[in-house]
Amino acid sequence: MTQPFIKLENITKKFPGVVALNNVSLDLYQGEIHGLIGENGAGKSTFIKVLTGVHTPEKGEIILKGNPIKIENTKHAIDLEIGCIYQELNNIPQLSVTDNIFLGCQLKKKSGLLDYETMHKKARELLKDLGQDIDPTLPIEKLGMGHQQMVEIVKAITKDIKMLIMDEPTSSLSETEVKELVDAVRKLKNKGVGILFVSHKLEEIFELCDKVTVFRDGQHVITGNVSDFTNDLLIQNMVGREITQQFPKIEFKKGEEILKVENFTRYGVYRKINFSLSRGEILGFSGLVGAGRTELIRGIFGADPIDEGKLYLNGKEVNINSPEAAVRNRFALLTEDRKTQGLVLNASILSNLIITCLCKFKKGLFLDNTKICKAVDHNIKSLQIKTPSPDTLAEQLSGGNQQKVVVGKWLNSDAEIYIFDEPTRGIDVGAKVEVYNLMNKILEENKAIIMISSELPEILGMSDRVIVMRNGNITAEIKRNSKQFTQEDIMHASWDDSAIKE
């Protein structure tokens, strides 16, 4: 092949605490579909953002058709004929298909009024070119996700995009829709458009791509022709993250069953989920981002309604239809996003810690301040929260200490089932260990933990049992003492559709 359309050389991008991309080089050609795969946190998203001008790399060169350039921002990237279809589609749901396609570049009649006749016609033609029969006058929110994707592609075509990045385009599509998308992408390729296809589905990589690249921990691992790879070979290249960290895991004796989930289903999100949880146990949930793990625990916690399913607490069926009911039944949810969902940031540590248990501190009609201060002082000591005073605002703490406050808040509430969603995201290594120690403390009190984590080392380091999810289904359940309790086996279950049991 001739000169690459865009050539990235030795790109390095750092964020506080992590090297998101480390010396990555890649050539992308027009008329070629290039697959990009890697585990959560491998650097795919950062790489996309470098190409679209959202991030500027610290080191490295970007060469467009032979000329070194700097991509300033998203708009500049589009001017350079580089476009991206994000997983979260960027459309305006209430507007029609035509309006979305021509937003910002509408066609007008001589009178200055919009020429809808021509625009509708052109939109219809462009969609037909991709094999789609879509009524362009419909509001886009009336279309299914597959058709919305098609509109995004057409939007890119009208902007003369030569290099189209597609970030997990099939993650929310049905099987038929995927087939249609695959056809459309092939048609684009034949028109000479280059495509960077980021996917979590290996079979799509094999079906669609000419080349494939694997990233791992921000590094480029391998690039090659798809025909030179097998399923196993790709997975082998993705795993192999070194476990450098030590985990303070203590295995406690398992008590009786505390929670049983039966046939939990929310159509289109997760279905027929069954599992149980015992006292003294950490049940890890592994899987790719978007596998339905967070949605499942939101369903269990009553934050979103479920369509089918039953929930048993200590052997008794309970109906949890709101987070309030969940808390009453001694659940605690430690959300992924502490800042917006876990803490009242502009309130003191003291207020945050006692928010769940104020009634414990009543003295007659009033609150017993001495008792509160005592309890909070005890909290701060036992949780080892590093703060000058209990009156310090939560927003002034580091991520690790904030997480400790969230744990403390729930410890004070007498919760028995702790659900941690990404418990150590954005926390430095030292603080991570302290959070793990708190988990041990929870288990020691004969309580139980569900832990969602996208970090395989964390899953392997702390779980007593791990459940792997893919596309809303459970694909594997592996005990800590099993021979399959390895990175490779978990990866297989989270990447391979054939692992889904009906």
């Binding site: 305006i92 209430q94 507007l95 509408q106 809808y116 009524d135 369509d307």
Partner: protein, 331 residues
């Protein structure tokens, strides 16, 4: 059943869009059966006259709400524009063109200020900026008139508020119809109009598509001010007086018209015709309750209930739609 494009007609959707119109028709039928005066030419033209001031303000409000905003200063803008004209005749300027241009200038200017406060000063929400200007321009209207009404407008200025065309149809209502058709074309057939929907629907996506969101917002608030000035013109004509305290409940009536007419408070959704129906429904209810002899207090209760019921029906429809979409994924 299929429509011209060969697509299936969604009855539920048609019904939900026609809901407010249906309510208007039902209320009108009930009133014409229940009272003798309702279905008379005199009363109908009366309703048109009563509805016109609120309809003009509601049209401006509708565009603001489309962008996901709110304008609480509309009543003050209306009074201020009226008083600017009043102060001019007090000082002997009786040229109708000059008077009307100044009135429009004043209203549009205040709307422009609202837009600037929101975008350039980056005040976090139009609720704040317009509650500020609501007070400022009510105060200024009182200051420039020394808090007393001013009468004696020239005939030409009174015409939009008092004149009739044929069959006794008031000029003011004709203005409403012409303006509404104009706004309909503006919103649906010009780039700027579509951009207003885009900004309200998804501000971030609109920005990433290369639209100048701030400019669009400033224009929308200025248009709202312009529509208030139009209402002020009709108002001084009708009463031949500029009242500095006029329009003190105009903001809530305008917002209520939009909501009843199905304009989404979150922005991006709504039609100008829905707003007209909302405005007419409020006026017809008031008129009818007057005819029945219901007290003013009772009228407040009824209008309040109508607002809540109208939005609740919309909420029910939206959640039913979301559920049927989810169930479709079951397959």
């Amino acid at each position: 059943m299929k429509n011209a494009n060969g697509k299936n007609i969604d009855y539920k959707e048609v019904l939900s869009k026609l809901g407010p119109l249906l309510a208007l028709v039902l209320v009108s039928i009930a009133l014409s059966l229940g009272t003798e005066q309702f279905m008379t030419v005199g009363n109908i033209t009366n309703i048109m006259r009563q509805a016109s001031i609120n309809s003009l303000i509601a049209a401006g409000m509708m565009m603001v709400i489309l962008t996901g905003g709110i304008d609480l200063s509309v009543g003050s803008i209306t009074a201020f524009a009226a008083c600017v004209m009043g102060v001019m005749i007090k000082n002997g300027i009786m040229n109708p063109v000059l008077l009307i241009v100044s009135g429009f200038g004043a209203g549009t200017f205040v709307g422009y200020i609202n837009g600037i406060l929101l975008t350039k000063l980056r005040l976090p929400h139009p609720f704040i900026s317009t509650i500020g200007t609501r007070n400022i321009f009510r105060g200024l209207a009182l200051l420039i008139t020394a808090a007393s009404p001013i009468s004696g407008f020239p005939k030409a200025v009174q015409y939009p508020g008092t004149g009739d065309i044929f069959l006794g149809i008031p000029v003011s209502f004709l203005i409403v119809i012409v303006m509404y058709i104009g706004i309909h074309i503006f919103l649906n057939n010009t780039a700027l109009g579509r951009h207003i929907y885009a900004v309200g629907g998804n501000k971030e996506a609109a920005r990433l598509s290369g639209l100048n969101v701030n400019k669009i917002l400033i224009i929308v608030y200025a248009i709202c001010g312009f529509m208030c000035a139009f209402a002020a013109l009709v108002m001084v004509g009708r009463l031949n007086t500029a009242f500095p305290l006029a329009g003190s409940t105009a903001d809530m009536d305008a917002i209520a018209s939009c909501i009843i007419g199905g304009v989404s408070f979150l922005g991006g959704k709504g039609t100008i015709w829905g707003t007209l129906i909302g405005s007419l429904l409020i006026t017809v209810l008031r008129n009818g309750l007057n005819l029945i002899g219901a007290s003013a207090d009772m009228q407040l209760v009824v209008i309040g209930l109508v607002i809540i019921v109208a939005v609740y029906v919309d909420v029910l429809r939206a959640s039913a739609e979301a559920k049927s979409k989810r169930l479709a994924a079951k397959k």
